[in-house]
């Protein structure tokens, strides 16, 4: 049942992921100039160039080049960084844990606090509490992430001195980044939760639940929430990518190591092997997130499982 559905979704993800990889692969070829120049250091010896051509089959057709490239990716060879002269895989391996840490914490934080806030806003509807939460949601959805990060630094690091300005040395250095991403994440989750609850509460079966004599808390937690969580999970699955995007910005502003700051620096330095590697990993993360979201949805709603039989 669920396993079957999961496999179905997995199979659908594969062609999609491959298409994205093609796109990323083509980056180097869409830039002006010889692709080789984008993969190798300026001033390399002809011997180095020949070695590179051989390694990636740069003298062969695009299709073959892609096959070689993707083949190497599968064996863990992402090429070599131009500027730092190290295997890209190493760089990614070094930076990935930081991004994962930040992403996971931010996700958990946003989801939990966002859910609580959304439920509270709904339970206290037509009161000032709801208005306050709605205001917060508005702010959280509109304020630019990097600006918020800067404000946070200004307020908490500089003025109050509570947290370090940048880096990742101490555990406390993750607080501000998580809060910054969380600001937008909470707003999103709270908004969807609240709207979902409002929608479900209008359904006919809720009337019957009241007619059975069930109390409000029971109706909320046993019947309303499971329904409301469906769109929340959907949105979260779709927007996992968003959290990643927030992480990219935040890493850069706070000077944290991670895939995001690695990517942006590489873009500025035109270090394309690194750019490709990072983009691939990030894209993969988005796909995985979507997949997990889909499966979770199916696990929660028997109707979805039915529909795909």
């Amino acid at each position: 049942m669920i396993i079957k559905y999961s496999i179905q979704r997995l199979l659908m993800i594969i062609p999609v992921s491959l298409s994205i990889s093609v796109f990323i692969f083509l980056i180097v070829h869409m830039l002006p100039g010889d692709p080789i120049d984008n993969l190798i250091r300026v001033g390399s010896s002809p011997a180095d160039r020949i070695a590179l051509i051989a390694k990636y089959g740069l003298d062969q057709s695009l299709f073959k080049q892609y096959i070689i490239w993707i083949g190497r990716i599968f064996t863990g060879d992402f090429g070599d960084a131009i500027v730092l002269r190290r295997p890209v895989a190493d760089l990614i391996g070094q930076n990935l844990p930081y991004s994962l840490q930040l992403g996971a914490l931010a996700f958990a934080f946003s989801s939990i606090v966002g859910l609580i806030l959304g439920i509270t806003a709904w339970a206290a509807r037509n009161s000032w509490v709801e208005q306050v939460v709605k205001g917060f949601i508005l702010l959280g959805s509109t304020v630019p992430g990097f600006w918020l990060a800067l404000l946070m630094i200004l307020l908490f690091s500089v003025t109050l001195g509570w947290f370090p300005v940048s880096g990742a040395k101490t555990w406390s250095s993750i607080v501000l980044p998580v809060l910054t991403i969380g600001f937008g994440g909470i707003a999103l989750v709270a908004r969807v939760t609240r709207v979902a609850l409002l929608d479900v509460a209008r359904e006919d079966f809720i009337t019957l639940l009241h007619a059975k004599g069930l109390s409000r808390p029971v109706i909320l937690f046993r019947h309303l929430l499971p329904h409301a969580l469906l769109p929340v999970v959907t949105i979260l699955a779709l927007r996992i990518g968003w959290i990643l995007g927030g992480a990219v910005t935040v890493e850069f502003v706070f000077g944290r190591p991670g895939l995001g700051s690695l990517l942006i620096r590489a873009l500025g330095q035109r270090d394309y092997p690194v750019v490709q590697g990072c983009l691939l990993m990030l894209a993969l993360a988005v796909m995985l997130g979507t997949l997990i979201g889909d499966i979770t949805q199916a696990a929660m709603d028997p109707r979805i499982r039915e529909a795909s039989k």
Binding site: V16, I20, F23, I24, I27, M30, L31, L138, L139, S141, T142, V143, P144, G145, F146, W147, L150, L151, I153, L154, V158, A237, L238, R239, I240, G241, W242, L244, G245, G246, V248, T249, F252, L263, I264, L267, G268, Y272, V275, L279, L282, A283, V286, G289, T290
Partner: protein
């Protein structure tokens, strides 16, 4: 058709205090951006090295940056850049998106599924990531920014239009029109698109807001509009170095962005209420 829309729904969006404030601010912003060259108190390139990093005070109402340039004037010009870039990009996005969505909805079948899969894909990607991919390919600059904005929000318009088309296709009056011998193009333009227009306009507004933020973020990374084009993001980027000495260089443009986007969202809400299209926006 346009006259009908503006007389009815859009006008009503101004009937509440919130609508007036938000809408009014937006109109003011557009006017200011349009007339920037005549309004700005100072030349944006004018450096006044004796007055570097001064706090907001008369005559520099938003202070000066590290070159002594007037922040307020730069913010006003930044508005020009942000608005025009975002609006143009979204305009393209809307056009392409609506055509794609209409085609997908109308023809259905494999074509529809293919289009929607691709579109849903772009939707799950964070706009920042898409932007970075384009910057990787096209290099930094306004072109890649516009592409990024256009592609990042394309999905919304496609999905919206397709949903409307699918919905309306099932309405009996469309069946009747087809039976009377109308051509597909006539049906699409005369009957299907006008209904899809209202939600698309609202979503487009919100997308312009998001586009402004995206442009600023790229600018902050140094990957957006290149100097000397003023950009809200770039201003804040160069201001980071003076974070401790002259925080207003960072705070104030950010406030400008925040207020603009908030106004866009609030007015968008009012529009939805006035045009009564909440149900057509489900799932966006």
């Amino acid at each position: 058709m346009i006259a009908a829309i503006s007389n009815s729904g859009f006008g009503r969006a101004f009937s509440t205090p919130l609508g007036v404030i938000a809408g009014g601010f937006l109109i003011l912003l557009v006017v200011v951006a349009l007339f920037a060259p005549w309004i700005t108190p100072f030349d944006i390139a004018l450096q006044d090295l004796d007055n570097r990093n001064t706090a907001p005070a008369w005559p520099h109402l938003m202070g000066t940056d590290e070159f002594g340039r007037d922040v307020l004037s730069r913010v006003i010009y930044g508005a020009r850049t942000s608005l025009s870039v975002s609006a143009t990009a979204i305009g393209i996005s809307v056009t392409v998106g609506m055509i794609l969505g209409a085609a997908a909805g109308y023809f259905g079948g494999m074509f529809e599924r293919a289009v929607m899969t691709v579109v849903d894909l772009t939707w799950s990607f964070p706009d920042i990531l898409i932007a970075l991919i384009f910057v990787a390919i096209l290099g930094p600059g306004l072109t890649s920014t516009m592409f990024a904005i256009a592609i990042a929000y394309l999905a919304q318009f496609t999905r919206l239009t397709r949903a409307q088309i699918v919905r309306l296709k099932q309405e009996t009056f469309v069946e009747a029109t087809i039976n009377l011998g109308a051509s597909p193009i006539h049906i699409v333009f005369r009957h299907l698109l006008p209904n899809a227009l209202a939600p698309v306009i609202v979503v487009a507004m919100l997308a312009i807001g998001d586009g402004i933020v995206l442009e600023a973020t790229l600018g902050f990374f140094g990957l957006g509009a290149q100097p000397p084009t003023p950009s809200w993001g770039a201003m804040m980027s160069s201001g980071t170095a003076q974070l401790f000495i002259a925080p207003w260089v960072i705070i104030l443009p950010g406030v400008a962005i925040a207020i603009t986007v908030i106004a866009v969202n609030l007015f968008g809400d009012e529009l939805v209420r006035a045009l009564d299209i909440r149900d057509r926006l489900r799932g966006s």
